[in-house]
Symmetry: C2
Protein backbone atom coordinates (compact mmCIF):
# COMPACT_ATOMS: atom_id res chain seq x y z
CA UNK A 1 0.00 0.00 0.00
CA UNK A 2 1.42 3.37 -1.05
CA UNK A 3 1.66 6.04 1.60
CA UNK A 4 -0.50 9.10 1.12
CA UNK A 5 2.64 10.98 0.05
CA UNK A 6 3.36 8.57 -2.75
CA UNK A 7 -0.23 8.79 -3.95
CA UNK A 8 -0.25 12.60 -3.90
CA UNK A 9 3.14 12.84 -5.59
CA UNK A 10 1.66 10.94 -8.55
CA UNK A 11 -1.10 13.53 -9.07
CA UNK A 12 -0.54 15.95 -11.95
CA UNK A 13 -0.64 18.99 -9.59
CA UNK A 14 2.05 17.63 -7.27
CA UNK A 15 4.52 16.18 -9.75
CA UNK A 16 8.12 17.10 -9.05
CA UNK A 17 7.30 18.34 -5.52
CA UNK A 18 9.48 17.09 -2.68
CA UNK A 19 8.11 15.03 0.18
CA UNK A 20 9.07 17.78 2.63
CA UNK A 21 7.26 20.47 0.67
CA UNK A 22 4.18 18.26 0.41
CA UNK A 23 4.22 17.51 4.17
CA UNK A 24 4.39 21.24 4.86
CA UNK A 25 1.49 21.84 2.46
CA UNK A 26 -0.71 19.15 4.02
CA UNK A 27 -0.09 20.69 7.41
CA UNK A 28 -1.34 24.13 6.47
CA UNK A 29 -3.97 23.41 3.79
CA UNK A 30 -7.30 21.64 4.41
CA UNK A 31 -7.18 18.55 2.20
CA UNK A 32 -10.56 16.83 2.13
CA UNK A 33 -10.35 13.08 1.61
CA UNK A 34 -13.67 11.52 0.60
CA UNK A 35 -14.71 7.92 -0.08
CA UNK A 36 -17.46 7.05 -2.56
CA UNK A 37 -19.10 3.64 -2.95
CA UNK A 38 -19.85 2.00 -6.29
CA UNK A 39 -22.39 4.03 -8.29
CA UNK A 40 -22.34 7.03 -5.95
CA UNK A 41 -22.32 10.46 -7.56
CA UNK A 42 -19.08 12.42 -7.14
CA UNK A 43 -20.31 15.36 -9.24
CA UNK A 44 -23.32 15.99 -11.46
CA UNK A 45 -23.33 17.69 -14.87
CA UNK A 46 -24.09 21.36 -14.28
CA UNK A 47 -22.65 21.41 -10.72
CA UNK A 48 -20.64 24.53 -9.99
CA UNK A 49 -16.98 23.66 -9.73
CA UNK A 50 -16.14 24.90 -6.22
CA UNK A 51 -13.21 22.55 -5.57
CA UNK A 52 -10.36 21.03 -7.53
CA UNK A 53 -10.97 17.27 -7.35
CA UNK A 54 -8.56 14.38 -7.79
CA UNK A 55 -9.21 10.64 -7.99
CA UNK A 56 -6.63 9.22 -5.59
CA UNK A 57 -7.78 5.60 -5.41
CA UNK A 58 -9.99 3.35 -7.53
CA UNK A 59 -11.87 4.45 -10.62
CA UNK A 60 -14.63 6.83 -11.68
CA UNK A 61 -16.83 7.09 -14.76
CA UNK A 62 -17.02 10.52 -16.40
CA UNK A 63 -20.03 10.89 -18.71
CA UNK A 64 -20.44 13.85 -21.08
CA UNK A 65 -23.83 14.28 -22.78
CA UNK A 66 -24.37 16.31 -25.96
CA UNK A 67 -26.66 19.28 -25.39
CA UNK A 68 -29.43 18.53 -27.84
CA UNK A 69 -28.56 15.14 -29.31
CA UNK A 70 -29.17 11.77 -27.69
CA UNK A 71 -25.48 10.91 -27.64
CA UNK A 72 -23.26 10.71 -24.60
CA UNK A 73 -19.64 9.66 -24.27
CA UNK A 74 -18.40 8.07 -21.05
CA UNK A 75 -14.90 7.08 -19.98
CA UNK A 76 -13.28 5.45 -16.96
CA UNK A 77 -10.57 7.46 -15.20
CA UNK A 78 -8.21 5.56 -12.90
CA UNK A 79 -6.28 7.05 -9.97
CA UNK A 80 -4.18 9.18 -10.03
CA UNK A 81 -6.23 11.61 -12.13
CA UNK A 82 -7.59 15.14 -11.99
CA UNK A 83 -11.24 15.86 -12.76
CA UNK A 84 -11.90 18.72 -15.22
CA UNK A 85 -9.29 21.24 -13.97
CA UNK A 86 -10.37 23.71 -16.69
CA UNK A 87 -13.81 24.21 -15.11
CA UNK A 88 -12.62 26.08 -12.01
CA UNK A 89 -12.00 29.25 -14.04
CA UNK A 90 -12.97 30.62 -17.45
CA UNK A 91 -16.33 31.29 -19.03
CA UNK A 92 -18.08 28.23 -17.68
CA UNK A 93 -17.42 27.16 -14.10
CA UNK A 94 -19.75 24.18 -14.02
CA UNK A 95 -18.90 20.63 -15.06
CA UNK A 96 -20.25 19.58 -18.48
CA UNK A 97 -20.12 15.95 -17.28
CA UNK A 98 -21.20 13.75 -14.40
CA UNK A 99 -18.67 11.78 -12.35
CA UNK A 100 -19.67 8.49 -10.66
CA UNK A 101 -17.64 6.07 -8.54
CA UNK A 102 -16.85 2.72 -10.21
CA UNK A 103 -16.26 0.47 -7.23
CA UNK A 104 -14.89 2.20 -4.15
CA UNK A 105 -13.31 5.48 -5.19
CA UNK A 106 -11.19 7.86 -3.13
CA UNK A 107 -11.32 11.56 -3.95
CA UNK A 108 -9.19 14.43 -2.68
CA UNK A 109 -10.82 17.82 -2.92
CA UNK A 110 -9.39 21.24 -2.18
CA UNK A 111 -11.42 24.47 -2.22
CA UNK A 112 -10.77 26.91 -5.04
CA UNK A 113 -9.31 29.48 -2.60
CA UNK A 114 -6.88 26.94 -1.10
CA UNK A 115 -5.98 25.72 -4.57
CA UNK A 116 -5.01 29.27 -5.60
CA UNK A 117 -2.93 29.57 -2.42
CA UNK A 118 -1.10 26.37 -3.36
CA UNK A 119 -0.38 27.69 -6.86
CA UNK A 120 1.03 30.84 -5.31
CA UNK A 121 3.14 29.01 -2.76
CA UNK A 122 5.62 27.31 -5.06
CA UNK A 123 6.62 27.60 -8.70
CA UNK A 124 6.43 23.83 -9.26
CA UNK A 125 2.66 23.83 -8.62
CA UNK A 126 2.19 26.78 -10.93
CA UNK A 127 4.16 25.09 -13.73
CA UNK A 128 2.16 21.90 -13.30
CA UNK A 129 -1.15 23.75 -13.65
CA UNK A 130 0.03 25.86 -16.59
CA UNK A 131 1.06 22.59 -18.28
CA UNK A 132 -2.23 20.82 -17.56
CA UNK A 133 -4.45 23.70 -18.71
CA UNK A 134 -2.31 24.40 -21.77
CA UNK A 135 -2.39 20.74 -22.77
CA UNK A 136 -6.16 20.72 -22.51
CA UNK A 137 -6.39 23.97 -24.51
CA UNK A 138 -4.15 22.61 -27.31
CA UNK A 139 -5.99 19.29 -27.50
CA UNK A 140 -8.99 20.25 -29.69
CA UNK A 141 -7.01 22.28 -32.22
CA UNK A 142 -4.33 19.60 -32.58
CA UNK A 143 -6.89 16.87 -33.22
CA UNK A 144 -8.78 18.99 -35.74
CA UNK A 145 -5.59 19.89 -37.63
CA UNK A 146 -4.69 16.17 -37.78
CA UNK A 147 -7.80 15.26 -39.84
CA UNK A 148 -6.62 14.03 -43.24
CA UNK A 149 -9.23 11.97 -45.06
CA UNK A 150 -12.40 13.00 -43.26
CA UNK A 151 -13.41 9.30 -43.07
CA UNK A 152 -16.08 8.19 -40.58
CA UNK A 153 -13.32 6.53 -38.51
CA UNK A 154 -11.41 9.83 -38.31
CA UNK A 155 -14.52 11.78 -37.38
CA UNK A 156 -15.54 9.29 -34.72
CA UNK A 157 -11.98 9.40 -33.36
CA UNK A 158 -12.04 13.21 -33.36
CA UNK A 159 -15.35 13.44 -31.47
CA UNK A 160 -14.46 10.80 -28.90
CA UNK A 161 -10.94 12.17 -28.31
CA UNK A 162 -12.38 15.66 -27.83
CA UNK A 163 -14.82 14.43 -25.17
CA UNK A 164 -12.46 12.12 -23.26
CA UNK A 165 -9.18 12.54 -21.41
CA UNK A 166 -5.61 11.32 -21.45
CA UNK A 167 -5.37 7.81 -19.97
CA UNK A 168 -9.11 7.07 -20.20
CA UNK A 169 -10.20 3.45 -20.58
CA UNK A 170 -13.48 1.67 -21.31
CA UNK A 171 -14.90 4.48 -23.42
CA UNK A 172 -18.60 4.02 -24.21
CA UNK A 173 -20.72 5.91 -26.69
CA UNK A 174 -24.38 5.64 -25.76
CA UNK A 175 -26.49 6.82 -28.70
CA UNK A 176 -29.50 6.94 -30.94
CA UNK A 177 -28.20 6.14 -34.40
CA UNK A 178 -29.81 9.20 -35.97
CA UNK A 179 -28.21 11.53 -33.44
CA UNK A 180 -24.75 9.98 -33.71
CA UNK A 181 -25.06 10.39 -37.50
CA UNK A 182 -25.74 14.11 -36.94
CA UNK A 183 -22.83 14.51 -34.52
CA UNK A 184 -20.29 12.91 -36.82
CA UNK A 185 -22.00 14.04 -40.03
CA UNK A 186 -22.70 10.87 -41.89
CA UNK A 187 -25.50 8.69 -43.26
CA UNK A 188 -26.81 5.65 -41.38
CA UNK A 189 -25.54 3.13 -43.93
CA UNK A 190 -22.08 4.70 -44.00
CA UNK A 191 -21.94 4.75 -40.19
CA UNK A 192 -22.98 1.11 -39.90
CA UNK A 193 -20.39 -0.15 -42.37
CA UNK A 194 -17.58 2.02 -40.97
CA UNK A 195 -18.28 0.93 -37.41
CA UNK A 196 -18.45 -2.74 -38.48
CA UNK A 197 -15.04 -2.35 -40.11
CA UNK A 198 -13.62 -0.77 -36.94
CA UNK A 199 -15.02 -3.71 -34.98
CA UNK A 200 -13.24 -6.16 -37.31
CA UNK A 201 -10.01 -4.21 -36.77
CA UNK A 202 -10.40 -4.62 -33.00
CA UNK A 203 -10.78 -0.88 -32.31
CA UNK A 204 -14.28 -1.11 -30.87
CA UNK A 205 -17.08 -3.48 -29.87
CA UNK A 206 -20.70 -2.95 -30.82
CA UNK A 207 -23.60 -3.76 -28.51
CA UNK A 208 -27.26 -2.95 -29.23
CA UNK A 209 -27.08 0.36 -27.34
CA UNK A 210 -23.39 1.22 -27.12
CA UNK A 211 -20.10 1.44 -28.94
CA UNK A 212 -17.32 0.35 -26.58
CA UNK A 213 -13.73 1.49 -27.15
CA UNK A 214 -11.43 -0.26 -24.66
CA UNK A 215 -8.23 1.57 -25.62
CA UNK A 216 -8.20 5.29 -26.35
CA UNK A 217 -4.77 5.00 -27.97
CA UNK A 218 -6.38 3.27 -30.99
CA UNK A 219 -8.24 6.54 -31.65
CA UNK A 220 -5.05 8.58 -31.32
CA UNK A 221 -3.41 6.35 -33.89
CA UNK A 222 -6.31 6.79 -36.34
CA UNK A 223 -5.56 10.55 -36.28
CA UNK A 224 -1.77 9.96 -36.05
CA UNK A 225 -1.74 12.20 -33.00
CA UNK A 226 -0.77 12.07 -29.32
CA UNK A 227 -1.98 13.75 -26.13
CA UNK B 1 -3.63 58.64 -27.86
CA UNK B 2 -3.83 56.23 -24.95
CA UNK B 3 -0.89 56.14 -22.57
CA UNK B 4 1.07 52.92 -22.41
CA UNK B 5 -0.64 52.22 -19.07
CA UNK B 6 -4.08 52.40 -20.60
CA UNK B 7 -3.04 50.10 -23.44
CA UNK B 8 -1.52 47.54 -21.08
CA UNK B 9 -4.47 47.65 -18.70
CA UNK B 10 -6.69 46.55 -21.60
CA UNK B 11 -4.64 43.39 -22.20
CA UNK B 12 -6.16 40.17 -20.86
CA UNK B 13 -3.14 39.51 -18.59
CA UNK B 14 -3.31 42.92 -16.91
CA UNK B 15 -7.03 43.34 -16.43
CA UNK B 16 -8.03 44.55 -12.99
CA UNK B 17 -4.45 45.57 -12.13
CA UNK B 18 -3.89 49.03 -10.66
CA UNK B 19 -1.80 51.66 -12.41
CA UNK B 20 0.63 51.67 -9.47
CA UNK B 21 1.13 47.92 -9.58
CA UNK B 22 1.68 48.08 -13.34
CA UNK B 23 4.22 50.92 -13.02
CA UNK B 24 6.10 48.86 -10.44
CA UNK B 25 6.03 45.84 -12.76
CA UNK B 26 7.31 47.77 -15.79
CA UNK B 27 10.16 49.05 -13.67
CA UNK B 28 11.44 45.65 -12.68
CA UNK B 29 10.49 43.46 -15.69
CA UNK B 30 12.00 43.75 -19.18
CA UNK B 31 9.04 44.55 -21.44
CA UNK B 32 10.08 44.35 -25.09
CA UNK B 33 8.11 46.67 -27.35
CA UNK B 34 8.46 45.81 -31.05
CA UNK B 35 7.08 47.44 -34.20
CA UNK B 36 6.30 45.43 -37.31
CA UNK B 37 5.51 46.87 -40.73
CA UNK B 38 2.73 45.63 -43.01
CA UNK B 39 3.33 42.03 -44.08
CA UNK B 40 6.24 41.45 -41.71
CA UNK B 41 6.34 38.12 -39.91
CA UNK B 42 5.74 38.31 -36.15
CA UNK B 43 5.95 34.51 -35.70
CA UNK B 44 6.06 31.54 -38.05
CA UNK B 45 4.15 28.27 -37.69
CA UNK B 46 6.44 25.82 -35.89
CA UNK B 47 8.39 28.55 -34.03
CA UNK B 48 9.13 27.67 -30.43
CA UNK B 49 7.09 29.84 -28.14
CA UNK B 50 9.78 31.51 -26.02
CA UNK B 51 7.83 34.66 -25.12
CA UNK B 52 4.28 35.61 -24.29
CA UNK B 53 3.26 38.04 -27.04
CA UNK B 54 0.55 40.69 -27.08
CA UNK B 55 -0.72 42.84 -29.93
CA UNK B 56 -0.80 46.31 -28.36
CA UNK B 57 -1.47 48.45 -31.44
CA UNK B 58 -2.80 47.81 -34.93
CA UNK B 59 -3.75 44.42 -36.30
CA UNK B 60 -2.19 41.06 -37.14
CA UNK B 61 -3.28 38.13 -39.28
CA UNK B 62 -3.09 34.69 -37.64
CA UNK B 63 -3.14 31.84 -40.15
CA UNK B 64 -3.57 28.19 -39.12
CA UNK B 65 -2.94 25.52 -41.78
CA UNK B 66 -4.28 21.96 -41.57
CA UNK B 67 -1.50 19.39 -41.37
CA UNK B 68 -2.20 17.31 -44.44
CA UNK B 69 -5.10 19.07 -46.15
CA UNK B 70 -4.86 22.13 -48.36
CA UNK B 71 -7.08 24.18 -46.09
CA UNK B 72 -6.00 27.07 -43.91
CA UNK B 73 -8.04 29.40 -41.75
CA UNK B 74 -6.87 32.96 -41.13
CA UNK B 75 -8.25 35.66 -38.88
CA UNK B 76 -7.45 39.26 -38.04
CA UNK B 77 -6.74 40.04 -34.39
CA UNK B 78 -6.97 43.67 -33.29
CA UNK B 79 -5.15 45.23 -30.30
CA UNK B 80 -5.45 44.56 -27.42
CA UNK B 81 -5.04 40.81 -27.91
CA UNK B 82 -2.87 37.94 -26.72
CA UNK B 83 -1.26 35.55 -29.20
CA UNK B 84 -1.67 31.81 -28.44
CA UNK B 85 -1.10 31.90 -24.65
CA UNK B 86 -1.64 28.09 -24.49
CA UNK B 87 1.56 27.40 -26.47
CA UNK B 88 4.02 28.50 -23.78
CA UNK B 89 3.39 25.33 -21.77
CA UNK B 90 1.84 21.91 -22.34
CA UNK B 91 2.66 19.17 -24.80
CA UNK B 92 3.40 21.41 -27.76
CA UNK B 93 5.36 24.61 -27.20
CA UNK B 94 5.47 25.77 -30.80
CA UNK B 95 2.84 27.88 -32.54
CA UNK B 96 0.56 25.95 -34.91
CA UNK B 97 -0.04 29.23 -36.80
CA UNK B 98 1.85 32.09 -38.40
CA UNK B 99 1.33 35.69 -37.29
CA UNK B 100 1.84 38.58 -39.75
CA UNK B 101 1.46 42.34 -39.26
CA UNK B 102 -1.53 43.90 -41.06
CA UNK B 103 -0.45 47.51 -41.42
CA UNK B 104 1.85 48.77 -38.67
CA UNK B 105 1.52 46.50 -35.66
CA UNK B 106 2.91 46.97 -32.17
CA UNK B 107 3.79 43.88 -30.15
CA UNK B 108 4.76 43.56 -26.50
CA UNK B 109 6.75 40.45 -25.70
CA UNK B 110 7.91 39.13 -22.35
CA UNK B 111 10.20 36.12 -21.91
CA UNK B 112 8.67 32.97 -20.48
CA UNK B 113 10.77 33.29 -17.27
CA UNK B 114 9.66 36.90 -16.69
CA UNK B 115 6.07 35.94 -17.47
CA UNK B 116 6.17 33.25 -14.75
CA UNK B 117 7.62 35.84 -12.34
CA UNK B 118 4.71 38.16 -13.12
CA UNK B 119 2.19 35.37 -12.48
CA UNK B 120 3.86 34.73 -9.14
CA UNK B 121 3.99 38.39 -8.15
CA UNK B 122 0.29 39.09 -7.77
CA UNK B 123 -2.87 37.04 -7.55
CA UNK B 124 -4.67 39.19 -10.14
CA UNK B 125 -2.23 38.11 -12.88
CA UNK B 126 -2.59 34.49 -11.88
CA UNK B 127 -6.40 34.68 -12.00
CA UNK B 128 -6.28 36.34 -15.40
CA UNK B 129 -4.10 33.57 -16.84
CA UNK B 130 -6.12 30.78 -15.24
CA UNK B 131 -9.21 32.35 -16.81
CA UNK B 132 -7.64 32.72 -20.26
CA UNK B 133 -6.24 29.18 -20.40
CA UNK B 134 -9.41 27.64 -18.95
CA UNK B 135 -11.55 29.50 -21.47
CA UNK B 136 -9.39 28.18 -24.31
CA UNK B 137 -9.53 24.65 -22.87
CA UNK B 138 -13.35 24.73 -22.58
CA UNK B 139 -13.82 26.16 -26.07
CA UNK B 140 -13.56 22.97 -28.19
CA UNK B 141 -15.72 20.81 -25.96
CA UNK B 142 -18.43 23.46 -25.65
CA UNK B 143 -18.65 23.93 -29.42
CA UNK B 144 -18.76 20.18 -30.05
CA UNK B 145 -21.50 19.65 -27.44
CA UNK B 146 -23.52 22.44 -29.09
CA UNK B 147 -23.82 20.58 -32.43
CA UNK B 148 -27.50 19.79 -32.97
CA UNK B 149 -28.34 19.04 -36.61
CA UNK B 150 -24.90 18.23 -38.02
CA UNK B 151 -25.70 20.47 -41.04
CA UNK B 152 -22.87 21.72 -43.23
CA UNK B 153 -23.37 25.22 -41.75
CA UNK B 154 -22.91 23.83 -38.23
CA UNK B 155 -19.82 21.86 -39.19
CA UNK B 156 -18.26 24.81 -40.98
CA UNK B 157 -19.03 26.96 -37.92
CA UNK B 158 -17.50 24.33 -35.62
CA UNK B 159 -14.26 24.05 -37.60
CA UNK B 160 -13.80 27.79 -38.05
CA UNK B 161 -14.65 28.59 -34.41
CA UNK B 162 -12.17 25.94 -33.25
CA UNK B 163 -9.36 27.47 -35.32
CA UNK B 164 -10.04 31.16 -34.57
CA UNK B 165 -10.17 33.30 -31.45
CA UNK B 166 -12.54 35.49 -29.49
CA UNK B 167 -12.90 38.89 -31.18
CA UNK B 168 -11.43 37.78 -34.54
CA UNK B 169 -12.58 39.61 -37.67
CA UNK B 170 -12.11 39.09 -41.41
CA UNK B 171 -11.89 35.30 -41.18
CA UNK B 172 -10.75 33.70 -44.44
CA UNK B 173 -10.79 30.03 -45.38
CA UNK B 174 -8.29 29.37 -48.13
CA UNK B 175 -8.96 25.93 -49.60
CA UNK B 176 -9.04 23.28 -52.26
CA UNK B 177 -12.66 22.18 -52.47
CA UNK B 178 -11.82 18.52 -52.12
CA UNK B 179 -9.82 19.11 -48.95
CA UNK B 180 -12.42 21.36 -47.35
CA UNK B 181 -14.98 18.61 -48.08
CA UNK B 182 -12.75 16.15 -46.20
CA UNK B 183 -12.26 18.53 -43.25
CA UNK B 184 -15.95 19.19 -42.77
CA UNK B 185 -17.06 15.76 -44.02
CA UNK B 186 -19.36 16.50 -46.87
CA UNK B 187 -19.80 16.04 -50.62
CA UNK B 188 -18.89 18.77 -53.12
CA UNK B 189 -22.48 19.41 -54.22
CA UNK B 190 -23.70 19.64 -50.62
CA UNK B 191 -20.86 22.01 -49.72
CA UNK B 192 -21.52 24.27 -52.70
CA UNK B 193 -25.24 24.61 -52.01
CA UNK B 194 -24.78 25.09 -48.26
CA UNK B 195 -22.13 27.77 -48.75
CA UNK B 196 -24.30 29.54 -51.36
CA UNK B 197 -27.16 29.61 -48.87
CA UNK B 198 -24.87 31.04 -46.16
CA UNK B 199 -23.80 33.71 -48.66
CA UNK B 200 -27.45 34.63 -49.28
CA UNK B 201 -27.96 34.91 -45.52
CA UNK B 202 -25.05 37.35 -45.33
CA UNK B 203 -22.87 35.10 -43.15
CA UNK B 204 -20.05 34.77 -45.66
CA UNK B 205 -18.76 35.90 -49.05
CA UNK B 206 -17.39 33.54 -51.67
CA UNK B 207 -14.46 34.39 -53.91
CA UNK B 208 -12.79 31.95 -56.32
CA UNK B 209 -10.16 30.92 -53.77
CA UNK B 210 -11.56 31.93 -50.39
CA UNK B 211 -14.56 31.94 -48.11
CA UNK B 212 -14.63 35.22 -46.19
CA UNK B 213 -16.50 35.49 -42.89
CA UNK B 214 -16.47 39.12 -41.72
CA UNK B 215 -18.15 38.54 -38.36
CA UNK B 216 -17.26 35.56 -36.17
CA UNK B 217 -20.38 36.09 -34.07
CA UNK B 218 -22.51 34.80 -36.97
CA UNK B 219 -20.79 31.42 -36.51
CA UNK B 220 -21.38 31.47 -32.75
CA UNK B 221 -25.07 32.05 -33.39
CA UNK B 222 -25.25 29.10 -35.83
CA UNK B 223 -24.12 26.88 -32.92
CA UNK B 224 -26.15 28.90 -30.36
CA UNK B 225 -22.97 29.26 -28.35
CA UNK B 226 -20.71 32.00 -26.94
CA UNK B 227 -17.02 32.36 -26.17
Amino acid sequence: MDSIFEILMDLPLFQGVSREKLAELIEKTPFHFLKFTDGQTIASAGDTCTHIRFIISGKAVVETPAQSLRVSVSETLTAPAVIGPEYLFGLNTSYPFSVTAKGTCGVLQITKADYVNILNSDRVFLFNVLNILSRNAQHGTANLLAVSSGSVAERLAFVVLSLTHHGATDIRINYKQRDLCALISTQRTTLVSAVAKMQEEGILTLTPSEIIIPDRRCLLSILHTTD
